[in-house]
């Protein structure tokens, strides 16, 4: 059969193919242009440092980073903060999500509303509000002093705990959202069956619920990890000047120190650090999509 005798159906199929690629081309190319291209270019460029006026492959940029005390301190500090933030988020949000899933109390509506509220508070406003709340002579300090007379309040503002508090505040809604979505997919029967064979609350939590919400925990972990490593505004405004988290550190290197090459290296290092987490995130999102389809 020659190509000119395509059936009508096949013709319309090819035509719609062509149109489909046309329709998706603009956002796809924009995505490639603004994400894939800069990211890969940076990875390649940082591996080809300029030595004596010529570029060639070499690890000089990375050696410079890892031999610089400030850089390494900032990197370690970022990882430490990220770990603390994610741990705190799980400690805070898992009980909330469990409560929302299993309670029949009316208070649940209010708890859910409060937990999702930060979605509607932009980071910049949050930063300002937290300074006024937990900062020196802030509302919290005055409140404690007026009610208890205790004067030993130390503000977390411009300390490591300052950016941690801000990022935890910001991370609550998405963590609660993802965990409750995961818990909603655990049927009541599975939990009742476990109670029926004699499992107590803790055994049900660790042996039935936790394994069943593994993917949601992973997505919550990945989103928070990427969010915290890639954060700028809150650590910049609430955290200490030294050590700095990678976001403000990169910005300072780029804008104040005017060293784009070094900033680029710092960026690529955050990529590499989170590449595995990014991979896990994409993989579980892909699986989720496939299961729904």
């Amino acid at each position: 059969m020659s190509t000119s005798t395509l059936t009508k159906k096949e013709q319309s199929r090819t035509k719609s193919n062509w149109i489909a690629y046309l329709l998706i081309s603009a956002p796809f190319f924009l995505m490639v242009l603004l994400i894939v291209y800069p990211a890969s270019l940076s990875i390649i460029r940082t591996l080809r440092p300029e030595v004596n006026g010529t570029r060639r492959f070499g690890l000089e940029n990375y050696l410079a980073f890892f031999s610089d005390h400030t850089s390494v301190t900032n990197l370690v500090f970022t990882l430490w903060s990220t770990g603390a933030i994610i741990a705190l988020l799980f400690i805070i949000c898992l009980p909330i999500a469990l409560y929302l899933r299993f309670t029949e109390s009316r208070i649940a509506h209010f708890v859910q509303g409060l937990a999702l509220f930060p979605l509607f508070v932009p980071g910049i406003i949050l930063a300002y509000a937290l300074i006024r709340f937990i900062g020196p002579n802030g509302l919290l300090e005055t409140f404690i002093e007026v009610t208890t007379g205790w004067q030993g309040y130390h503000t977390p503002y411009l300390k490591p705990s300052g950016s941690i508090i801000g990022l935890v505040w910001e991370g609550i809604p998405i963590t609660v959202l993802v965990l409750t979505a995961g818990l909603a997919q655990v049927p009541d029967n599975l939990i009742e069956a476990a109670r029926d064979v004699g499992a107590g609350r803790l055994q049900i939590f660790f042996q039935i619920i936790l394994p069943l919400i593994g993917r949601s925990m992973l997505i919550a972990f990945a989103l928070n990890f990427l969010g915290v490593i890639g954060a700028f505004t809150l650590p910049y405004l609430l955290g200490p000047a030294a050590p700095q988290m990678m976001g403000p550190f990169m910005q300072r290197t780029f804008y104040n120190v005017l060293n784009p090459d070094a900033a680029e290296t710092q960026a690529v290092i955050t990529f590499l650090l989170s590449s595995f987490v990014g991979f896990l995130y994409v993989r579980s999102a892909v699986r989720q999509q496939k299961e729904e389809a």
Partner: protein, 272 residues
């Protein structure tokens, strides 16, 4: 009475509620108090003098009068461009069959898979060479990055949710494809699309990291201005009043979006 008795049965819920309330709402209360104070001397629990004196002063500042229209304009432009390029793509993903559609749809997860500020740095390095730093075009481009996932995934889910047989029935009675789209498909996806538009507009309005990196010094949006106001600690009230004003779009969205923004469509924007 019976409500109170019910509350008493749920001590854990009350504990969570109070703890969350203090942590989440506490900071917001201090902003509101500051915005309506003329004088607040430590250690008074409430402002020592109330008033609106600083409101008119705030809105006479030249930098604010410049940044506000710029921010609104930028958010509008970014939302518009994002809608124009993403909505047809969302329709294609939901309705047209083509090789690799799954791959292309999932490829947009890349926007979430990189640490955001690191990504912006790599973009900034390129923009520096292209002389796009400190230009409106540069800021528009970097802010578009944020919008792609929301603008494609939420409408795609919405288009997929429209019953295909409704469209086929209309085609069957002789309506053109364009007419079917306009009169059958579109009305059903409008809630989800307006939610995506709102998210994009508000998200862009508050976008700080890209704007500070690419925009400064020439293009100063409201959040970037706010950032410098916070750091330079002029009058505390300026920041508070600006925070409350800046918050209006988000509160409007909270108000309007309650129906359109179900938890599920929100989750779709995160690839969950």
């Amino acid at each position: 009475m019976s409500f109170l008795r019910k509350l008493g049965k749920d001590p854990f819920g009350i504990f969570i509620f109070i703890a969350l309330f203090l942590f989440i709402i506490g900071p917001m209360i201090s902003v509101i108090l500051w915005a309506f104070s003329v004088q607040w001397r430590y250690p008074s629990l409430l402002p020592t003098q109330w008033g609106l004196k600083f409101w008119s002063q705030t809105f006479k500042r030249a930098d604010i009068l410049q940044a506000l229209p710029l921010s609104l304009f930028l958010s509008l432009i970014v939302t518009l461009i994002s809608a124009v390029i993403c909505l047809p793509a969302a329709y294609a993903f939901a309705r047209l069959k083509f090789r690799g559609s799954q791959f292309f749809l999932l490829s947009f997860l890349a926007t979430n898979a990189f640490p955001r500020f690191g990504l912006y740095i790599t973009i900034a390095v390129i923009f520096l060479k292209l002389n796009l730093v400190s230009t409106v075009l540069g800021v528009v481009l970097i802010q578009l990055v944020n919008t792609l996932l929301f603008m494609i995934w939420i409408p795609t889910a919405a288009f997929k949710g429209v019953d295909k047989s409704l469209e086929e029935a209309a085609l069957d009675v002789g309506a053109s494809r364009f007419r079917v789209f306009w009169q059958i498909t579109l009305p059903q996806v409008i809630p989800a699309i307006s939610a995506a538009l709102m998210l994009t507009f508000v998200g862009t309005f508050y976008e700080t990291q890209g704007a500070i990196l690419i925009g400064l010094p020439g293009v100063r949006t409201m959040p970037v201005l706010m950032l410098s106001l916070i750091n330079n600690q002029l009058v505390v009230q300026y920041g508070a009043i600006l925070s409350l004003t800046l918050w209006i779009p988000s509160l409007l969205m909270l108000f309007f979006a309650r129906r359109a923004l179900s938890g599920k469509s929100l989750a779709a924007g995160f690839g969950v």
